[in-house]
Symmetry: D2
Subunit: 366 residues, 4 copies
C-alpha cells in the first residue's frame, strides 16, 4: 500500500506493465457528469508512447474500456473503473532481469521488499506505463474542474539543462495555456524547445537519456482551498506527484530559490484589484499556510533521466552476490519528460479535486 | 483537516499559538518502551525559542506534561498525549491583524477559508509554535527508531545563499552526525556556519529575515521499506515535511540537479560489499520506486525567510478593500532555519516510523 | 489503533482511567459555532457517575478544560481539544489485577495484546470512563446538528428483561424526546422504569449487575445521507457504537425481528405526504441501501451487565497458570445502561455529523 | 464513498448489476501466495444464482478474470484486480422503476442521493450481485487465513422463524465446519433445514419472500487481535458485514440475550487448559474490550426478507408525487439467506485479515 490516493475522491490504480491489463477505480466522482470521451482520448494521447523519435517504440492504442460508473457516458455515483488491456508486450526482453537489477530502477528495491514475488516484467507495477490509468483519472478530473472554473496546464521547464521560459507566476493566464495543451512537446519558448529536441536526439543516438523539469500552473482556484499542516495544498500535491515514477523533487512558487532571499525580497505584497485581493509577486505560488490564496498555484517537479539506457552498466547478480556487467534491452524513452507533462497535470487535477470535494467550495452537483 | 498524520502511527497536533495550550496525541506507539525524558527534553530544546540572537525573544519553558499513554514513563499502548501550556503570550501584539493580513503569512488564506472565525493571535493554528508538539512526537519516534538501528540527522545546508558542505550521500555515516545534534547551529563546515551567522545578524539589524535549506540523512533503514506509488518514501516524507511552516520545496538524492544530467551520469551503479548490495553513487537518495534501497536516505527542504519583518510592507484592509501600509510588530526570528532543523528530523522520524510499522520490518515489541 | 473515529470530522479519544487525564481531540468541526457550555455540561452530567443508587460512588466533577479550538467559546476551525483531569482515583483497588484478569473485562485480552505494558488501573484505556470524552465530542455534535434540524434521543428499552415501550418507528417525533433528555433514567413508560429500578436495586443488594437495551432515534435527517456498501449509515453508526464498552449487538429498524417476517410483512409501503415521500411502516429504520430515507433513523444497542460484580468468580493466575478465585473490589455500577444512554446519543451524533460533512447536505457554516 | 474497506488490506468493489462488469481491486495482499483457483471457484459457486428452487433464475457463470496482481497465479504484491462480466442482463425488466421506487429497496434513497444519475438497472451498485466481488476478495482471504491456522464457517441459524441448532460457542470446532461448507444449504440440524426449505417453497409459490439469521464462527484466532474503541473486532466486523445488502442487525457472543442477564450469569469464568487460558462459557463471543480472547469468535447477522416480491405493493410516482400500485417484475430469490452465507464468511475473512495485517501477529511472508 498504497496505490490509491485521496479521501473524498479515491483513485486506485492497478496493473503491471505486462499483466492482463492496467486500470483505475475511482470512487467519489460527483454523479451526473458526462465524460467527454474525445477530450479524454486526446488527453491520454499526450502521454501515449510510440508517437515520435523521443519516446519508446512500444505502440499501444491504450483505449480504455469503462467497466463501471457510467450510465450512457454519464457518471452515476458508483465507482468508475476503466481498463486498458496490455497487448504489445515482449516479456522475453525482461526475463534475465530477475537476478540482475537495473541501476536506478525499482528492480532491486522491489526484490528486497517482495522477496522475488514481484512482477519484474517491464518493471511490473513500478512501470511508467501505470501513469496511463493515472491520466484517465486525472483527465476526468480536468473536465470536472473546468466546470468549476479551474484550469491546469504544465510545460517542459527544462531538459538536460536547457531551460524554457517560466510562467510569469503572478500573471499567468489561460491565454498562456493555449499553446501548451495542443502541443506534443509543450514549451513556452519554441526556440528552447528545438534545442531540447536536439539534446534528446543526441542522447538517443548515444544510447543515453536525459532528465528535465516540469512546471505546472493551476488557475481559477478559489482562495481558501486546502487545510492546515498535513493536508495543505503542498502536502496534497506532493504526495501524489511523487507517485509519478522518476520524480525526485518538487517546489512551490519560487521554491528552492526562496532559500537565498531575504523576507523583504520574498514576501508577496498584497493589493486590491477591484473586489479581489491579489499579490504583486507570487513567490508563495498561490499557497499560504497550506491554503490557496487565489493567486495562480505554481509548482515544479524534477524528473530524472530515464534509467533505462543501452550503455553497459555495473550491476550485481543477486543470487551469486557477484558484480556483473549489464546492458539493458527493450524499448525505452531517451527522455520521458514530454510524456510526463500530462501526468503532472493529471496528478494536480486529482489532488485539487480531492481538496475541492472536502471543502465546501465544490459548486453544484452532488 | 488534517492536522494529523500517519496510518499505523497517527500523530494529531492541536493548539493555537495563544490558546490554553498546544500538544499532540499519538496513536499506535508500540507498547513497552520507556521514553528517555532527558533525551526528549534536549531534542525539544533544539527548537526552543529565546536561546540566542537569531531567534525570537519569546521565552517559554515548553516542558510537556504527559496526560496519557504512559505508565511509569513507559508506553502502554494507549494514545500518548502531551500538553504544553501557552504562557508567555502577548495577544495585544496581534489584535490589529484581523483586518490587515501580513504578507506571506497564512492570515489572508485563513481568513478566506475560515471567514473570520480563525484564531489570528500569533498565527493561531498556523504558528511555527505548533512545531513543538511535532517535535515531541518526532523526538519519541527518534528514540524508538534508534532501537531499530535507524538514526536521523539534519544540518543547515545553506542560509541566504551561503552554503554549508553537503553530506557525502553514498558514504555519510553516524560519525558525521556526532557534530550536528549537539550543536545549536548544526553545520558540517564551521567556517560557513560563521558566515551564515553574520548574514543573520545583518538581516536582523536591518529588521529583515533570511531563508535557507536543510539537508537530512536517515541511516540504517532496511532495504525494502515503503510502498509503490502514493505511499513511497518520497510521498510519505514530503507529505509530512510540508506540514512544517515555511517549507516551499523538497528534493531527494541529487533532486533537481538530476534534471540536468544524463542517465549514464545519474544512474547509481550497483556493487557488492560483502553480503550487502550497495551503489557507488547515491543520486537516488536511498529510494528506488518509492522503496528504500538500503543506501542512506537523503533529502533537502527549502525554508523561506521568516515572513515577519519589521520593515514596512504593503497590505490591504479586508474590511474596506483598500491598500494599506503595515509594520509587523511582535517578536520574530530573523531566521527560523536553525530551529527548523530538529523539526525536519522529527517529521522524518514520524514518516519512517509509520512506514516501518506498516511494513513487517519493525523488530520486536508489538 | 484506532481510538479515533471519522473521516470528515475526526474524533480522537485519549486517556486511561487513572492517567493524568482523559480527553478528546476533534478535527474538522465547522468554524464559527458557539458551543453552549451549559447545555454541554448538562449533557455530560447525564453520564456522570455518583449521582444515584445505581451508579458507581466514584465522584468526579468531570468539568472539561478546553485547551484549543475555541476563540471566545466559538469554534475557530483548528482542532478542538478538551481535557478532563482524573482526580478521585484509587489505584490501590486494582493493584492485584495484573495477574488475575477479571471475567468478561478487557484485562485478559489486553494482557495478550500489550504483553503487560497496558495500564491496568481501573481498566486503563478500556475503562467506561473513556466515554466521557466521547460525550464531549458527541455533545458538541448534538448542538451542531440541532442547527441543521437534526435531533437525537435515546431511552432505556429494557433492563434485565423488563421492557420499556418502544418508539413508534414510523411516527416518533421530537414530542417524544421531551420527557427523555430531561430524565436521568430515561424511559417512555414510567411504570416499567420503576420496575427496572427495583431490579437494579435488587441486583446491587446481591452484589450483582444487570444488562439492558438502549433504543435511539434520529429525527430530521435529510433523505440521501450516507453511502453505499461500507459507508452506509448502518456501517457508520455500528462502527462507532461498538466503541462504547459493553455493547454486544446493534440492530436497525425492526432489526432481528425482520428475520422471522415475510417480504410482504417487512416491506415498507411508500405514500405521499404533501411534497414528501414517506413509508407507512418503518421496519427499515430510516435506512435503505445504507442511505437515509427521510424516515426516523432507529437503532437499538444491547448492553451487557457490568462485568464488575462483588460475587466471587473463577479466574486464573496468568503468571502461575493456575485457577484462582477472584473477588472484584472497587466501586462499580450495578447497571451502566442509564449512563450509557447519552453515550449512545453521542456516538450517533458523531456518526451523523461525519456523514453530513462528507455529503453536500451540510447547510451553511464552514 | 465508500465502496472500499480496510486499512492494511484494502478491498475496493466496483460495478453495477447491469454495467459492463463488476469486480474488485485488492491492495495489500501479502506477496508470494498461490491462489487455489479451484477452491476459490467453489467458494464463489456457493453464492452463485440459478442453482436451485430458492434462488433467482438469472444464470451467470461468474468466472472472474484476473487482470492484475498475480504472476503465474501467485500474488506479486501489486493490487489484485478481478473482473466478472455482466452477461445475462435484462435491463428492460427495470426500465419502469425510475419513477416508481420498489418498497424497501435502495431505489428511493439512491434517487434522493444521486438525483436521478444513479444506475437503476437491477439495483445498480446496490444490487446483491455486488457480493460476488466481495466473495472473490473474501475467498482469497479465507485461503490466506487458513495458512495462519484461522478458519471461518457460517450456517443458517434461522429462516422465517424456523431455527437451526446454534454453535456451541465455547466448544465449536472445525469438526462442526465440515458439514457446512460442502452444503449448498448449510445447517447444523438437517431436520430444521428441511422445514426451512418448505417455508421458502411456500413463500415462493405465493410470490413472497422470507428472511433469516446467519451465524458465523471464526476459529484459530490468536488472542490479542483487534484494537480498543473504534477498531475493535466488533467494530471491524460490523462495519463490513453491514456492507452486505439486507443485513439489519449484528450481535456478538450471546448478543442481545445478554441484556436480560445478570453479570453473574453473563460473565465467562476463566480456567486453564494446559498452557492456554480459556473461558467455561463464551457469552463474550471471543471478544473482550474489542480484542480477541482466543475463544471462538461468534457473531450473528439478521437478513431481511428479499424486498423484491411479486405481490402488488404501494409505491409513489416520484415525478407526479402521486400514490401508485407496483408489481415488481424480474427474477428474484424468495430467500437470499443461503446465498448470503458465503458472503458473511467473506466479510469476516476480510475483516480478520485486515486486523491481522495491522497487528504484528501475521506469520510469515510480507
Amino acid at each position: 500500500m498504497s496505490s490509491s490516493y485521496g479521501k473524498n475522491i479515491r483513485v486506485s490504480i492497478f496493473g503491471q506493465s505486462h499483466s492482463e491489463g492496467i486500470g483505475v477505480c475511482i470512487e467519489g466522482l460527483p454523479p451526473g457528469h458526462r465524460i467527454d470521451m474525445e477530450e479524454l482520448g486526446f488527453f491520454l494521447s499526450r502521454r501515449a508512447p510510440g508517437q515520435n523519435s523521443y519516446s519508446t517504440s512500444r505502440r499501444e492504442p491504450d483505449v480504455p474500456e469503462f467497466l463501471s460508473g457510467l450510465v450512457g457516458g454519464v457518471t452515476c455515483g458508483a465507482p468508475l473503473t476503466a481498463l486498458i488491456r496490455n497487448t504489445d508486450t515482449r516479456s522475453s526482453d525482461y526475463s534475465g532481469l530477475f537476478d540482475l537489477p537495473r541501476p536506478s530502477h525499482a528492480d532491486f528495491a522491489a526484490q528486497m521488499k517482495f522477496k522475488g514475488a514481484q512482477d519484474v516484467r517491464g518493471g511490473g507495477h513500478f512501470s511508467g506505463r501505470l501513469t496511463a490509468p493515472l491520466c484517465i483519472a486525472g483527465g476526468i478530473c480536468v473536465q470536472l474542474l473546468k466546470k468549476q472554473g479551474i484550469e491546469i496546464a504544465a510545460h517542459i521547464a527544462s531538459i538536460g539543462g536547457v531551460s524554457d521560459a517560466l510562467f510569469d507566476m503572478a500573471n499567468v493566464s489561460t491565454e498562456d495555456f493555449k499553446a501548451l495543451s495542443a502541443n506534443a512537446f509543450p514549451v513556452l519558448n519554441a526556440e528552447s524547445g528545438k534545442e531540447m529536441l536536439k539534446l534528446i536526439e543526441k542522447a538517443k543516438a548515444e544510447g543515453d537519456s536525459v532528465g528535465g523539469i516540469i512546471e505546472c500552473a493551476i488557475l481559477g482556484l478559489p482562495a481558501g482551498l486546502g487545510d492546515p499542516m498535513f493536508d495543505g495544498m503542498e502536502n496534497r500535491i506532493a504526495s501524489i506527484v511523487f507517485g509519478i515514477p522518476a520524480v525526485k523533487g518538487i517546489e512551490f512558487g519560487n521554491g528552492f530559490a526562496c532559500a537565498a532571499l531575504r523576507g523583504s525580497e520574498n514576501n508577496d505584497a498584497f493589493y486590491t484589484d477591484g473586489e479581489t485581493v491579489k499579490t504583486k509577486t507570487n513567490n508563495h505560488g498561490g499557497i499560504l499556510g497550506g491554503i490557496s490564496s487565489g493567486m495562480p498555484l505554481i509548482f515544479r517537479a524534477a524528473i530524472k533521466p530515464t534509467p533505462s539506457i543501452s550503455i553497459e552498466q555495473d550491476s550485481v547478480s543477486l543470487s551469486k552476490m557477484e558484480n556483473r556487467k549489464l546492458k539493458v534491452k527493450g524499448r525505452h524513452d531517451p527522455c520521458i519528460v514530454p510524456r510526463a507533462v500530462p501526468c503532472v497535470e493529471a496528478a494536480a487535477a486529482i489532488a485539487v479535486m480531492d481538496a475541492l470535494l472536502e471543502s465546501k467550495m465544490y459548486k453544484g452537483g452532488y
